[in-house]
Amino acid sequence: MTFFIETLIGGLLAGTMYSLVAIGFVLIYKASGVFNFAQGAMLLFAALTFVSLREQGVPFAAALVLTVVVIAIGALAIERWILRPLVNRSQITLFMATLGLSFIVEGLAQGLMGAEVRALDLGIQDTPVMFGDIMVSHFDLVAAATATVLVTVLALLFNKTRVGVSLRAVADDTRAALSIGINLNRIWQIVWAVAGSVGLVAGLLWGARQGVQFSLSLVVLKALPVLIIGGFTSIGGAIVGGLIVGAAENLAEVYIGPFIGGGITPWFAYFIALAFLYVRPAGLFGERAIERV
Protein backbone atom coordinates (compact mmCIF):
# COMPACT_ATOMS: atom_id res chain seq x y z
CA MET A 1 0.00 0.00 0.00
CA THR A 2 2.80 2.40 0.88
CA PHE A 3 4.32 1.63 -2.48
CA PHE A 4 1.05 2.40 -4.21
CA ILE A 5 0.75 5.74 -2.45
CA GLU A 6 4.35 6.57 -3.17
CA THR A 7 3.87 5.76 -6.85
CA LEU A 8 0.73 7.84 -6.93
CA ILE A 9 2.35 10.85 -5.31
CA GLY A 10 5.46 10.53 -7.44
CA GLY A 11 3.27 10.32 -10.52
CA LEU A 12 1.25 13.35 -9.57
CA LEU A 13 4.41 15.36 -9.04
CA ALA A 14 5.90 14.18 -12.31
CA GLY A 15 2.61 15.24 -13.86
CA THR A 16 3.16 18.86 -12.89
CA MET A 17 6.14 18.85 -15.22
CA TYR A 18 3.80 17.88 -18.05
CA SER A 19 1.36 20.56 -16.98
CA LEU A 20 4.05 23.20 -17.30
CA VAL A 21 4.59 22.29 -20.92
CA ALA A 22 0.86 22.10 -21.56
CA ILE A 23 0.13 25.56 -20.16
CA GLY A 24 2.18 27.12 -22.93
CA PHE A 25 -0.07 25.45 -25.48
CA VAL A 26 -3.24 26.53 -23.75
CA LEU A 27 -2.23 30.19 -23.63
CA ILE A 28 -1.58 30.35 -27.34
CA TYR A 29 -4.61 28.32 -28.26
CA LYS A 30 -6.88 30.52 -26.18
CA ALA A 31 -5.67 33.75 -27.69
CA SER A 32 -5.03 32.87 -31.30
CA GLY A 33 -6.72 29.55 -31.95
CA VAL A 34 -3.37 28.06 -32.94
CA PHE A 35 -2.38 24.64 -31.82
CA ASN A 36 1.28 25.47 -31.52
CA PHE A 37 3.35 22.43 -32.36
CA ALA A 38 6.46 24.59 -32.19
CA GLN A 39 6.07 24.90 -28.43
CA GLY A 40 8.66 22.16 -27.98
CA ALA A 41 11.13 23.85 -30.30
CA MET A 42 10.53 27.17 -28.54
CA LEU A 43 11.17 25.48 -25.24
CA LEU A 44 14.44 24.12 -26.58
CA PHE A 45 15.41 27.48 -28.00
CA ALA A 46 14.65 29.29 -24.75
CA ALA A 47 16.55 26.83 -22.62
CA LEU A 48 19.51 26.81 -25.03
CA THR A 49 19.64 30.59 -25.04
CA PHE A 50 19.63 30.65 -21.28
CA VAL A 51 22.36 28.02 -20.98
CA SER A 52 24.53 29.70 -23.60
CA LEU A 53 24.24 32.99 -21.77
CA ARG A 54 25.14 31.33 -18.51
CA GLU A 55 28.19 29.76 -20.16
CA GLN A 56 29.31 33.22 -21.21
CA GLY A 57 29.37 34.12 -17.54
CA VAL A 58 26.15 36.10 -17.46
CA PRO A 59 24.63 36.04 -13.97
CA PHE A 60 21.47 34.01 -13.41
CA ALA A 61 18.96 36.85 -13.18
CA ALA A 62 20.44 38.77 -16.10
CA ALA A 63 20.44 35.64 -18.24
CA LEU A 64 16.80 35.11 -17.39
CA VAL A 65 15.88 38.65 -18.39
CA LEU A 66 17.91 38.50 -21.60
CA THR A 67 16.31 35.21 -22.56
CA VAL A 68 12.85 36.68 -22.04
CA VAL A 69 13.85 39.59 -24.27
CA VAL A 70 14.96 37.17 -26.97
CA ILE A 71 11.67 35.32 -26.62
CA ALA A 72 9.73 38.56 -26.94
CA ILE A 73 11.59 39.42 -30.15
CA GLY A 74 10.80 35.95 -31.42
CA ALA A 75 7.14 36.46 -30.58
CA LEU A 76 7.07 39.73 -32.52
CA ALA A 77 8.61 38.02 -35.53
CA ILE A 78 6.20 35.09 -35.38
CA GLU A 79 3.21 37.38 -35.13
CA ARG A 80 4.41 39.57 -37.96
CA TRP A 81 5.46 36.92 -40.44
CA ILE A 82 3.32 33.93 -39.63
CA LEU A 83 0.19 34.76 -37.72
CA ARG A 84 -0.75 38.00 -39.43
CA PRO A 85 -0.56 36.64 -43.00
CA LEU A 86 -2.47 33.55 -41.96
CA VAL A 87 -5.30 35.31 -40.17
CA ASN A 88 -8.71 33.79 -40.81
CA ARG A 89 -7.31 30.58 -42.17
CA SER A 90 -8.37 27.20 -40.92
CA GLN A 91 -6.98 25.87 -37.67
CA ILE A 92 -5.35 22.96 -39.43
CA THR A 93 -3.47 25.36 -41.70
CA LEU A 94 -2.23 27.25 -38.68
CA PHE A 95 -1.20 24.02 -37.04
CA MET A 96 0.83 23.05 -40.08
CA ALA A 97 2.45 26.47 -40.11
CA THR A 98 3.65 25.80 -36.59
CA LEU A 99 5.11 22.51 -37.79
CA GLY A 100 7.13 24.57 -40.23
CA LEU A 101 7.97 27.00 -37.47
CA SER A 102 9.28 24.18 -35.32
CA PHE A 103 11.73 23.26 -38.10
CA ILE A 104 12.95 26.83 -38.31
CA VAL A 105 13.37 27.21 -34.58
CA GLU A 106 15.12 23.85 -34.20
CA GLY A 107 17.48 24.68 -37.04
CA LEU A 108 18.21 28.10 -35.60
CA ALA A 109 18.69 26.81 -32.09
CA GLN A 110 21.16 24.12 -33.13
CA GLY A 111 22.81 26.26 -35.76
CA LEU A 112 23.47 29.16 -33.44
CA MET A 113 24.12 27.34 -30.23
CA GLY A 114 25.35 23.92 -31.23
CA ALA A 115 24.00 20.43 -30.77
CA GLU A 116 26.21 19.44 -27.85
CA VAL A 117 24.60 18.48 -24.58
CA ARG A 118 24.73 21.31 -22.06
CA ALA A 119 24.53 20.78 -18.37
CA LEU A 120 22.14 23.06 -16.56
CA ASP A 121 22.42 23.47 -12.83
CA LEU A 122 19.61 25.34 -11.17
CA GLY A 123 20.98 24.67 -7.74
CA ILE A 124 18.07 22.41 -6.85
CA GLN A 125 19.03 19.21 -5.09
CA ASP A 126 17.58 16.15 -6.78
CA THR A 127 17.63 13.93 -3.71
CA PRO A 128 14.96 11.84 -2.05
CA VAL A 129 13.00 13.24 0.87
CA MET A 130 11.26 10.81 3.22
CA PHE A 131 7.82 11.45 4.64
CA GLY A 132 7.47 8.46 6.93
CA ASP A 133 7.80 5.52 4.58
CA ILE A 134 7.00 7.50 1.52
CA MET A 135 9.79 8.79 -0.63
CA VAL A 136 9.29 11.99 -2.55
CA SER A 137 11.71 13.80 -4.81
CA HIS A 138 12.92 17.18 -3.69
CA PHE A 139 13.15 18.33 -7.27
CA ASP A 140 9.58 17.30 -7.98
CA LEU A 141 8.42 19.34 -5.02
CA VAL A 142 10.24 22.38 -6.37
CA ALA A 143 8.75 21.79 -9.81
CA ALA A 144 5.28 21.54 -8.33
CA ALA A 145 5.82 24.72 -6.36
CA THR A 146 7.04 26.48 -9.49
CA ALA A 147 3.96 25.38 -11.36
CA THR A 148 1.75 26.69 -8.57
CA VAL A 149 3.48 30.06 -8.55
CA LEU A 150 3.34 30.27 -12.32
CA VAL A 151 -0.36 29.51 -12.45
CA THR A 152 -1.06 32.09 -9.76
CA VAL A 153 0.90 34.73 -11.63
CA LEU A 154 -0.90 33.89 -14.86
CA ALA A 155 -4.27 34.00 -13.12
CA LEU A 156 -3.47 37.43 -11.73
CA LEU A 157 -2.28 38.56 -15.12
CA PHE A 158 -5.45 37.48 -16.83
CA ASN A 159 -7.93 38.60 -14.24
CA LYS A 160 -6.45 41.77 -12.87
CA THR A 161 -4.69 43.50 -15.75
CA ARG A 162 -6.00 45.28 -18.79
CA VAL A 163 -4.03 43.06 -21.14
CA GLY A 164 -5.44 40.00 -19.47
CA VAL A 165 -9.00 41.18 -19.79
CA SER A 166 -8.44 42.03 -23.46
CA LEU A 167 -7.00 38.60 -23.96
CA ARG A 168 -10.02 36.95 -22.50
CA ALA A 169 -12.19 39.11 -24.69
CA VAL A 170 -10.25 37.96 -27.76
CA ALA A 171 -10.55 34.35 -26.69
CA ASP A 172 -14.27 34.75 -26.16
CA ASP A 173 -15.17 36.44 -29.41
CA THR A 174 -12.45 37.72 -31.66
CA ARG A 175 -14.71 39.83 -33.86
CA ALA A 176 -16.44 41.50 -30.95
CA ALA A 177 -13.07 42.20 -29.36
CA LEU A 178 -11.83 43.79 -32.57
CA SER A 179 -14.92 45.94 -32.86
CA ILE A 180 -14.41 47.49 -29.45
CA GLY A 181 -10.90 48.47 -30.43
CA ILE A 182 -8.71 45.77 -28.98
CA ASN A 183 -5.46 45.52 -30.89
CA LEU A 184 -5.43 41.90 -31.88
CA ASN A 185 -1.87 41.90 -33.15
CA ARG A 186 -0.60 43.32 -29.91
CA ILE A 187 -2.48 40.69 -27.91
CA TRP A 188 -0.98 37.94 -30.03
CA GLN A 189 2.51 39.28 -29.54
CA ILE A 190 2.05 39.42 -25.81
CA VAL A 191 0.55 35.97 -25.56
CA TRP A 192 3.26 34.36 -27.65
CA ALA A 193 5.88 36.06 -25.53
CA VAL A 194 4.20 34.89 -22.33
CA ALA A 195 3.83 31.38 -23.69
CA GLY A 196 7.50 31.43 -24.67
CA SER A 197 8.42 32.46 -21.15
CA VAL A 198 6.33 29.67 -19.71
CA GLY A 199 8.20 27.46 -22.13
CA LEU A 200 11.45 28.80 -20.69
CA VAL A 201 10.43 27.79 -17.18
CA ALA A 202 9.39 24.34 -18.37
CA GLY A 203 12.56 24.07 -20.46
CA LEU A 204 14.76 24.94 -17.51
CA LEU A 205 13.15 22.40 -15.23
CA TRP A 206 13.23 19.64 -17.85
CA GLY A 207 16.70 20.72 -18.95
CA ALA A 208 18.04 20.53 -15.42
CA ARG A 209 16.94 16.93 -15.41
CA GLN A 210 18.04 15.67 -18.79
CA GLY A 211 20.57 18.20 -20.01
CA VAL A 212 19.80 20.83 -22.59
CA GLN A 213 19.86 19.42 -26.09
CA PHE A 214 17.66 18.50 -29.01
CA SER A 215 15.61 15.86 -27.17
CA LEU A 216 14.16 18.60 -25.03
CA SER A 217 11.85 19.48 -27.90
CA LEU A 218 10.32 16.02 -27.70
CA VAL A 219 8.53 16.79 -24.43
CA VAL A 220 5.80 18.26 -26.61
CA LEU A 221 4.59 14.78 -27.31
CA LYS A 222 4.11 14.33 -23.59
CA ALA A 223 1.93 17.40 -23.38
CA LEU A 224 -0.59 16.45 -26.07
CA PRO A 225 -2.59 13.92 -24.05
CA VAL A 226 -2.55 16.34 -21.16
CA LEU A 227 -4.21 18.89 -23.41
CA ILE A 228 -6.79 16.43 -24.61
CA ILE A 229 -7.81 15.52 -21.11
CA GLY A 230 -7.82 19.04 -19.81
CA GLY A 231 -9.16 20.71 -22.92
CA PHE A 232 -7.27 23.11 -25.14
CA THR A 233 -8.69 26.22 -23.56
CA SER A 234 -8.33 25.77 -19.84
CA ILE A 235 -5.22 26.39 -17.77
CA GLY A 236 -6.84 24.63 -14.85
CA GLY A 237 -7.53 21.77 -17.22
CA ALA A 238 -3.87 21.61 -18.18
CA ILE A 239 -2.92 21.24 -14.54
CA VAL A 240 -5.51 18.57 -13.81
CA GLY A 241 -4.70 16.81 -17.07
CA GLY A 242 -1.01 16.78 -16.21
CA LEU A 243 -1.71 15.29 -12.81
CA ILE A 244 -3.96 12.61 -14.27
CA VAL A 245 -1.47 11.68 -16.96
CA GLY A 246 1.48 11.64 -14.56
CA ALA A 247 -0.29 9.47 -12.02
CA ALA A 248 -1.86 7.10 -14.53
CA GLU A 249 1.38 6.66 -16.45
CA ASN A 250 3.37 5.78 -13.37
CA LEU A 251 0.77 3.45 -11.94
CA ALA A 252 0.31 1.74 -15.29
CA GLU A 253 4.03 1.21 -15.87
CA VAL A 254 4.41 -0.32 -12.42
CA TYR A 255 1.19 -2.36 -12.22
CA ILE A 256 0.21 -3.12 -15.82
CA GLY A 257 3.56 -2.83 -17.61
CA PRO A 258 5.09 -6.08 -16.31
CA PHE A 259 2.19 -8.10 -17.75
CA ILE A 260 2.43 -6.77 -21.27
CA GLY A 261 6.13 -6.25 -21.56
CA GLY A 262 6.61 -2.77 -20.12
CA GLY A 263 7.69 0.39 -21.85
CA ILE A 264 4.08 1.43 -22.31
CA THR A 265 4.44 5.07 -21.30
CA PRO A 266 4.59 6.56 -24.81
CA TRP A 267 1.08 5.52 -25.71
CA PHE A 268 -0.64 4.86 -22.42
CA ALA A 269 -1.26 8.54 -21.79
CA TYR A 270 -2.85 8.79 -25.22
CA PHE A 271 -5.16 5.94 -24.42
CA ILE A 272 -6.37 7.61 -21.26
CA ALA A 273 -6.85 10.72 -23.32
CA LEU A 274 -8.92 8.78 -25.84
CA ALA A 275 -11.06 7.30 -23.11
CA PHE A 276 -11.72 10.80 -21.80
CA LEU A 277 -12.44 12.04 -25.29
CA TYR A 278 -15.03 9.45 -25.92
CA VAL A 279 -16.94 10.59 -22.88
CA ARG A 280 -16.25 14.29 -23.23
CA PRO A 281 -15.32 15.18 -26.81
CA ALA A 282 -14.02 18.63 -25.83
CA GLY A 283 -11.92 17.59 -22.87
CA LEU A 284 -12.72 17.92 -19.19
CA PHE A 285 -12.74 21.68 -19.14
CA GLY A 286 -12.90 22.52 -22.82
CA GLU A 287 -15.67 24.55 -24.33
CA ARG A 288 -18.08 22.66 -26.48
CA ALA A 289 -18.18 24.19 -29.93
CA ILE A 290 -21.54 25.04 -31.42
CA GLU A 291 -21.68 24.62 -35.15
CA ARG A 292 -23.90 26.54 -37.48
CA VAL A 293 -24.47 25.72 -41.11
Partner: protein, 354 residues
Protein backbone atom coordinates in the same frame (compact mmCIF):
# COMPACT_ATOMS: atom_id res chain seq x y z
CA UNK B 1 -9.73 25.66 -67.20
CA UNK B 2 -12.53 25.63 -69.71
CA UNK B 3 -13.92 28.74 -71.25
CA UNK B 4 -17.35 27.23 -71.84
CA UNK B 5 -20.16 28.27 -69.61
CA UNK B 6 -22.99 26.03 -68.66
CA UNK B 7 -26.41 26.95 -67.52
CA UNK B 8 -28.07 24.76 -65.03
CA UNK B 9 -29.92 22.54 -65.33
CA UNK B 10 -28.13 21.47 -68.49
CA UNK B 11 -29.67 18.83 -70.72
CA UNK B 12 -27.86 15.53 -70.49
CA UNK B 13 -26.26 15.58 -73.94
CA UNK B 14 -25.01 19.08 -73.19
CA UNK B 15 -23.26 18.10 -70.00
CA UNK B 16 -19.67 19.24 -69.50
CA UNK B 17 -18.03 16.42 -71.39
CA UNK B 18 -14.52 16.97 -70.13
CA UNK B 19 -15.70 15.80 -66.74
CA UNK B 20 -15.39 12.26 -67.99
CA UNK B 21 -12.09 12.91 -69.70
CA UNK B 22 -12.58 12.56 -73.41
CA UNK B 23 -9.25 14.17 -74.29
CA UNK B 24 -6.35 11.84 -74.65
CA UNK B 25 -4.02 12.52 -71.68
CA UNK B 26 -0.90 12.88 -73.82
CA UNK B 27 1.43 14.42 -71.25
CA UNK B 28 0.53 11.68 -68.83
CA UNK B 29 1.17 8.97 -71.36
CA UNK B 30 4.51 10.48 -72.29
CA UNK B 31 5.45 10.66 -68.65
CA UNK B 32 4.51 7.03 -68.12
CA UNK B 33 6.45 5.99 -71.19
CA UNK B 34 9.51 7.76 -69.89
CA UNK B 35 9.04 6.26 -66.44
CA UNK B 36 8.57 2.72 -67.70
CA UNK B 37 10.80 2.77 -70.75
CA UNK B 38 13.56 5.32 -70.52
CA UNK B 39 14.32 5.64 -66.82
CA UNK B 40 15.23 1.98 -66.23
CA UNK B 41 17.68 2.20 -69.13
CA UNK B 42 19.33 5.44 -68.12
CA UNK B 43 18.92 5.49 -64.35
CA UNK B 44 22.00 4.57 -62.37
CA UNK B 45 21.76 2.41 -59.26
CA UNK B 46 22.01 5.52 -57.18
CA UNK B 47 19.07 7.18 -58.90
CA UNK B 48 16.90 4.10 -58.78
CA UNK B 49 17.75 2.93 -55.27
CA UNK B 50 18.15 6.14 -53.42
CA UNK B 51 15.87 8.58 -55.18
CA UNK B 52 13.27 7.16 -57.52
CA UNK B 53 12.02 4.24 -55.47
CA UNK B 54 11.58 6.24 -52.26
CA UNK B 55 10.04 9.05 -54.29
CA UNK B 56 7.43 6.69 -55.74
CA UNK B 57 6.62 5.11 -52.39
CA UNK B 58 6.34 8.47 -50.68
CA UNK B 59 4.04 9.66 -53.46
CA UNK B 60 1.82 6.68 -52.82
CA UNK B 61 1.81 7.32 -49.10
CA UNK B 62 1.02 10.96 -49.75
CA UNK B 63 -1.83 9.85 -51.96
CA UNK B 64 -3.16 7.69 -49.16
CA UNK B 65 -3.07 10.53 -46.67
CA UNK B 66 -4.45 12.98 -49.20
CA UNK B 67 -7.57 10.85 -49.62
CA UNK B 68 -8.18 11.25 -45.91
CA UNK B 69 -6.90 14.75 -45.26
CA UNK B 70 -7.10 16.52 -48.59
CA UNK B 71 -10.37 15.02 -49.77
CA UNK B 72 -12.24 14.19 -46.59
CA UNK B 73 -10.76 16.84 -44.33
CA UNK B 74 -9.70 14.54 -41.48
CA UNK B 75 -6.16 15.41 -40.45
CA UNK B 76 -4.10 12.40 -39.53
CA UNK B 77 -0.62 12.22 -38.08
CA UNK B 78 -0.67 8.46 -37.83
CA UNK B 79 0.17 7.64 -41.44
CA UNK B 80 3.41 5.88 -40.58
CA UNK B 81 1.57 3.64 -38.15
CA UNK B 82 -0.64 2.35 -40.95
CA UNK B 83 2.41 1.93 -43.14
CA UNK B 84 3.92 -0.22 -40.42
CA UNK B 85 0.81 -2.40 -40.34
CA UNK B 86 1.08 -2.96 -44.07
CA UNK B 87 4.79 -3.78 -43.88
CA UNK B 88 4.56 -6.15 -40.95
CA UNK B 89 1.42 -7.84 -42.25
CA UNK B 90 2.95 -8.43 -45.66
CA UNK B 91 6.12 -9.76 -44.08
CA UNK B 92 4.24 -12.21 -41.90
CA UNK B 93 2.02 -13.33 -44.74
CA UNK B 94 5.00 -14.06 -46.95
CA UNK B 95 6.80 -15.77 -44.09
CA UNK B 96 3.98 -17.87 -42.70
CA UNK B 97 1.96 -18.57 -45.83
CA UNK B 98 4.73 -19.16 -48.36
CA UNK B 99 2.30 -20.15 -51.11
CA UNK B 100 0.99 -16.60 -51.39
CA UNK B 101 2.35 -14.80 -54.43
CA UNK B 102 3.82 -11.38 -53.76
CA UNK B 103 0.97 -9.25 -55.19
CA UNK B 104 -1.62 -11.14 -53.15
CA UNK B 105 0.42 -10.75 -49.98
CA UNK B 106 0.78 -7.07 -50.73
CA UNK B 107 -2.94 -6.60 -51.19
CA UNK B 108 -3.72 -8.60 -48.06
CA UNK B 109 -1.19 -6.50 -46.17
CA UNK B 110 -3.00 -3.43 -47.41
CA UNK B 111 -6.29 -4.91 -46.26
CA UNK B 112 -4.91 -5.48 -42.78
CA UNK B 113 -3.88 -1.85 -42.66
CA UNK B 114 -7.33 -0.92 -43.92
CA UNK B 115 -8.93 -2.86 -41.09
CA UNK B 116 -6.78 -1.06 -38.55
CA UNK B 117 -7.65 2.22 -40.24
CA UNK B 118 -11.32 1.41 -39.91
CA UNK B 119 -10.89 0.88 -36.17
CA UNK B 120 -8.94 4.11 -35.76
CA UNK B 121 -11.65 5.88 -37.74
CA UNK B 122 -14.40 4.90 -35.33
CA UNK B 123 -13.92 7.88 -32.99
CA UNK B 124 -14.29 10.22 -35.96
CA UNK B 125 -18.04 10.02 -35.48
CA UNK B 126 -17.76 11.83 -32.18
CA UNK B 127 -14.47 13.67 -32.29
CA UNK B 128 -13.34 16.39 -34.63
CA UNK B 129 -10.37 18.53 -35.55
CA UNK B 130 -7.35 18.46 -33.27
CA UNK B 131 -8.93 16.02 -30.94
CA UNK B 132 -9.31 13.58 -33.78
CA UNK B 133 -5.76 14.28 -34.86
CA UNK B 134 -4.60 13.23 -31.44
CA UNK B 135 -6.40 9.90 -31.74
CA UNK B 136 -4.37 9.23 -34.86
CA UNK B 137 -1.28 10.16 -32.90
CA UNK B 138 -2.29 7.64 -30.25
CA UNK B 139 -2.66 5.02 -32.96
CA UNK B 140 0.79 5.93 -34.27
CA UNK B 141 2.47 5.39 -30.90
CA UNK B 142 0.46 2.32 -30.08
CA UNK B 143 1.23 0.62 -33.39
CA UNK B 144 4.90 1.48 -33.13
CA UNK B 145 4.96 -0.04 -29.67
CA UNK B 146 3.17 -3.22 -30.74
CA UNK B 147 5.57 -3.84 -33.60
CA UNK B 148 8.61 -3.39 -31.44
CA UNK B 149 7.26 -5.18 -28.38
CA UNK B 150 5.89 -8.46 -29.63
CA UNK B 151 8.64 -10.54 -31.21
CA UNK B 152 6.11 -12.65 -33.10
CA UNK B 153 5.65 -9.80 -35.55
CA UNK B 154 9.30 -9.84 -36.55
CA UNK B 155 9.75 -13.57 -36.31
CA UNK B 156 11.72 -13.35 -33.04
CA UNK B 157 14.71 -11.73 -34.73
CA UNK B 158 16.93 -10.34 -32.02
CA UNK B 159 17.42 -7.14 -33.96
CA UNK B 160 13.68 -6.45 -34.08
CA UNK B 161 13.92 -5.97 -37.79
CA UNK B 162 12.07 -7.56 -40.65
CA UNK B 163 13.98 -8.03 -43.84
CA UNK B 164 12.79 -8.46 -47.36
CA UNK B 165 11.95 -12.04 -48.14
CA UNK B 166 13.03 -13.30 -51.52
CA UNK B 167 11.04 -11.01 -53.75
CA UNK B 168 9.73 -13.17 -56.53
CA UNK B 169 7.02 -12.33 -59.03
CA UNK B 170 5.80 -15.22 -61.21
CA UNK B 171 9.20 -16.80 -61.02
CA UNK B 172 11.05 -13.55 -61.69
CA UNK B 173 13.56 -12.42 -59.13
CA UNK B 174 12.89 -8.81 -58.21
CA UNK B 175 16.15 -8.16 -56.44
CA UNK B 176 17.85 -5.86 -58.90
CA UNK B 177 17.25 -2.12 -58.58
CA UNK B 178 15.62 -1.95 -62.02
CA UNK B 179 13.14 -4.69 -61.24
CA UNK B 180 12.29 -3.24 -57.89
CA UNK B 181 11.79 0.14 -59.49
CA UNK B 182 9.53 -1.23 -62.20
CA UNK B 183 7.43 -3.19 -59.75
CA UNK B 184 7.04 -0.18 -57.47
CA UNK B 185 6.18 2.00 -60.44
CA UNK B 186 3.52 -0.44 -61.62
CA UNK B 187 1.91 -0.65 -58.20
CA UNK B 188 1.93 3.11 -57.80
CA UNK B 189 0.53 3.68 -61.29
CA UNK B 190 -2.26 1.19 -60.77
CA UNK B 191 -3.26 2.57 -57.39
CA UNK B 192 -3.08 6.14 -58.64
CA UNK B 193 -5.41 5.27 -61.48
CA UNK B 194 -7.85 3.76 -58.97
CA UNK B 195 -7.61 6.85 -56.79
CA UNK B 196 -8.24 9.21 -59.69
CA UNK B 197 -11.45 7.42 -60.46
CA UNK B 198 -12.38 7.07 -56.83
CA UNK B 199 -12.30 10.78 -56.13
CA UNK B 200 -14.36 11.47 -59.25
CA UNK B 201 -17.03 9.03 -58.17
CA UNK B 202 -19.98 9.49 -55.84
CA UNK B 203 -17.72 8.42 -52.94
CA UNK B 204 -15.16 11.08 -53.70
CA UNK B 205 -17.78 13.79 -54.00
CA UNK B 206 -19.31 12.77 -50.70
CA UNK B 207 -15.88 12.95 -49.11
CA UNK B 208 -15.35 16.44 -50.42
CA UNK B 209 -18.76 17.50 -49.18
CA UNK B 210 -17.77 16.28 -45.72
CA UNK B 211 -14.45 18.08 -45.97
CA UNK B 212 -16.08 21.36 -46.91
CA UNK B 213 -18.52 21.16 -44.03
CA UNK B 214 -19.56 17.97 -42.39
CA UNK B 215 -22.60 19.37 -40.66
CA UNK B 216 -23.89 20.62 -43.99
CA UNK B 217 -23.10 17.28 -45.59
CA UNK B 218 -25.11 15.53 -42.92
CA UNK B 219 -28.00 17.90 -43.52
CA UNK B 220 -28.17 17.05 -47.22
CA UNK B 221 -28.32 13.39 -46.35
CA UNK B 222 -24.80 12.05 -46.66
CA UNK B 223 -24.13 9.40 -44.00
CA UNK B 224 -21.17 11.30 -42.64
CA UNK B 225 -19.93 8.79 -40.09
CA UNK B 226 -19.89 5.98 -42.57
CA UNK B 227 -18.03 7.99 -45.19
CA UNK B 228 -15.46 9.21 -42.70
CA UNK B 229 -14.74 5.66 -41.62
CA UNK B 230 -14.60 4.66 -45.25
CA UNK B 231 -12.04 7.38 -45.92
CA UNK B 232 -9.94 6.11 -43.03
CA UNK B 233 -10.17 2.58 -44.41
CA UNK B 234 -9.27 3.42 -47.98
CA UNK B 235 -6.51 5.78 -46.93
CA UNK B 236 -5.01 3.13 -44.68
CA UNK B 237 -5.12 0.59 -47.48
CA UNK B 238 -2.97 2.88 -49.59
CA UNK B 239 -0.67 3.62 -46.70
CA UNK B 240 -0.37 -0.06 -45.88
CA UNK B 241 0.77 -0.90 -49.39
CA UNK B 242 3.13 2.05 -49.33
CA UNK B 243 4.52 0.73 -46.04
CA UNK B 244 5.19 -2.70 -47.48
CA UNK B 245 6.89 -1.17 -50.52
CA UNK B 246 8.91 1.11 -48.27
CA UNK B 247 10.10 -1.81 -46.17
CA UNK B 248 10.85 -4.35 -48.88
CA UNK B 249 11.41 -2.49 -52.10
CA UNK B 250 13.26 0.48 -50.72
CA UNK B 251 14.86 -0.18 -47.34
CA UNK B 252 15.18 -3.93 -47.60
CA UNK B 253 15.18 -4.11 -43.84
CA UNK B 254 12.72 -2.30 -41.64
CA UNK B 255 11.76 -2.08 -38.03
CA UNK B 256 9.07 -0.26 -36.13
CA UNK B 257 11.34 2.76 -35.94
CA UNK B 258 11.33 3.05 -39.73
CA UNK B 259 7.73 4.12 -39.31
CA UNK B 260 8.03 6.64 -36.55
CA UNK B 261 6.25 9.91 -36.02
CA UNK B 262 8.71 11.77 -38.22
CA UNK B 263 7.65 9.68 -41.19
CA UNK B 264 4.05 10.70 -40.49
CA UNK B 265 5.05 14.33 -40.48
CA UNK B 266 7.03 13.87 -43.66
CA UNK B 267 3.97 12.52 -45.42
CA UNK B 268 1.88 15.36 -44.09
CA UNK B 269 4.43 17.80 -45.50
CA UNK B 270 4.23 16.11 -48.87
CA UNK B 271 0.57 16.85 -49.16
CA UNK B 272 0.87 20.37 -47.78
CA UNK B 273 3.62 21.28 -50.20
CA UNK B 274 2.28 19.29 -53.13
CA UNK B 275 -1.32 20.28 -52.74
CA UNK B 276 -4.19 19.10 -50.60
CA UNK B 277 -7.02 17.56 -52.54
CA UNK B 278 -4.94 16.95 -55.63
CA UNK B 279 -3.65 13.66 -56.99
CA UNK B 280 -0.75 15.10 -58.95
CA UNK B 281 0.18 17.17 -55.93
CA UNK B 282 1.34 14.07 -54.07
CA UNK B 283 3.92 13.34 -56.73
CA UNK B 284 5.11 16.91 -56.86
CA UNK B 285 5.26 17.13 -53.08
CA UNK B 286 7.12 13.84 -52.79
CA UNK B 287 9.58 14.87 -55.48
CA UNK B 288 10.15 18.13 -53.71
CA UNK B 289 10.60 16.61 -50.29
CA UNK B 290 12.91 13.83 -51.41
CA UNK B 291 15.00 15.89 -53.79
CA UNK B 292 15.39 19.12 -51.86
CA UNK B 293 17.61 17.75 -49.07
CA UNK B 294 19.82 15.94 -51.59
CA UNK B 295 20.06 19.03 -53.74
CA UNK B 296 20.87 21.23 -50.78
CA UNK B 297 23.53 18.93 -49.46
CA UNK B 298 25.15 18.66 -52.89
CA UNK B 299 24.97 22.40 -53.26
CA UNK B 300 26.48 22.77 -49.81
CA UNK B 301 29.37 20.48 -50.66
CA UNK B 302 30.07 22.17 -53.96
CA UNK B 303 29.44 25.84 -53.35
CA UNK B 304 30.73 26.11 -49.85
CA UNK B 305 33.24 23.29 -49.90
CA UNK B 306 34.88 23.09 -46.54
CA UNK B 307 34.01 26.66 -45.64
CA UNK B 308 30.95 25.73 -43.64
CA UNK B 309 30.79 22.47 -41.78
CA UNK B 310 28.17 19.93 -42.74
CA UNK B 311 26.28 20.35 -39.50
CA UNK B 312 25.52 23.95 -40.32
CA UNK B 313 24.34 23.01 -43.79
CA UNK B 314 21.92 20.58 -42.21
CA UNK B 315 20.62 23.22 -39.86
CA UNK B 316 20.28 25.65 -42.71
CA UNK B 317 18.38 23.03 -44.60
CA UNK B 318 15.94 22.64 -41.74
CA UNK B 319 15.38 26.37 -41.67
CA UNK B 320 14.84 26.53 -45.42
CA UNK B 321 12.44 23.65 -45.19
CA UNK B 322 10.39 25.22 -42.42
CA UNK B 323 10.33 28.54 -44.23
CA UNK B 324 9.12 26.91 -47.41
CA UNK B 325 6.30 25.17 -45.57
CA UNK B 326 5.12 28.42 -44.05
CA UNK B 327 5.61 30.26 -47.31
CA UNK B 328 3.43 27.75 -49.11
CA UNK B 329 0.75 27.94 -46.49
CA UNK B 330 0.68 31.71 -46.74
CA UNK B 331 1.13 32.26 -50.45
CA UNK B 332 -0.23 29.15 -52.03
CA UNK B 333 -2.36 27.02 -49.76
CA UNK B 334 -3.15 24.75 -52.67
CA UNK B 335 0.47 23.77 -52.92
CA UNK B 336 2.99 23.42 -55.72
CA UNK B 337 0.42 21.91 -58.01
CA UNK B 338 -1.53 25.17 -58.08
CA UNK B 339 1.66 27.12 -58.65
CA UNK B 340 2.43 25.01 -61.68
CA UNK B 341 -1.13 25.38 -62.98
CA UNK B 342 -0.95 29.13 -62.61
CA UNK B 343 2.34 29.19 -64.43
CA UNK B 344 0.88 27.18 -67.24
CA UNK B 345 -2.13 29.45 -67.55
CA UNK B 346 0.08 32.44 -67.67
CA UNK B 347 2.30 30.87 -70.29
CA UNK B 348 -0.70 30.01 -72.45
CA UNK B 349 -1.54 33.68 -72.91
CA UNK B 350 2.00 34.96 -72.88
CA UNK B 351 3.03 37.62 -73.75
CA UNK B 352 -0.47 39.07 -73.84
CA UNK B 353 -2.39 39.55 -70.67
CA UNK B 354 -6.01 40.04 -69.90
Amino acid sequence: MSLHTYTLPAPFDNAPVHLVGSRAPWPLLVLLMIAFGVVPLLGSDYWLNAILIPFLVLSLAGLGLNLLTGYTGQTSVGSAGFMAVGAFATYNLLLRVPVLPLPVALILGGLFAAAVGWVVGIPSSRIKGFYLMVTTLAAQFFLEWIFSKFPWFYNNASSGTISAPNLVLFGHDLNTPTHRYLFTLSVVTLLTWVAVNLVKSQIGRNWMAIRDMDTAAAVIGIPVDRYKRQAFTVSSFYLGIAGALWAFFYLGTASASSFDINRSFQILFIIIIGGMGSIAGNFIGAAFISLLPILLSFAGQVLLGGAIDTGQIQNLQKIIFGTLIIWFLIKEPDGLVRLILNLRERLSVWPLRF
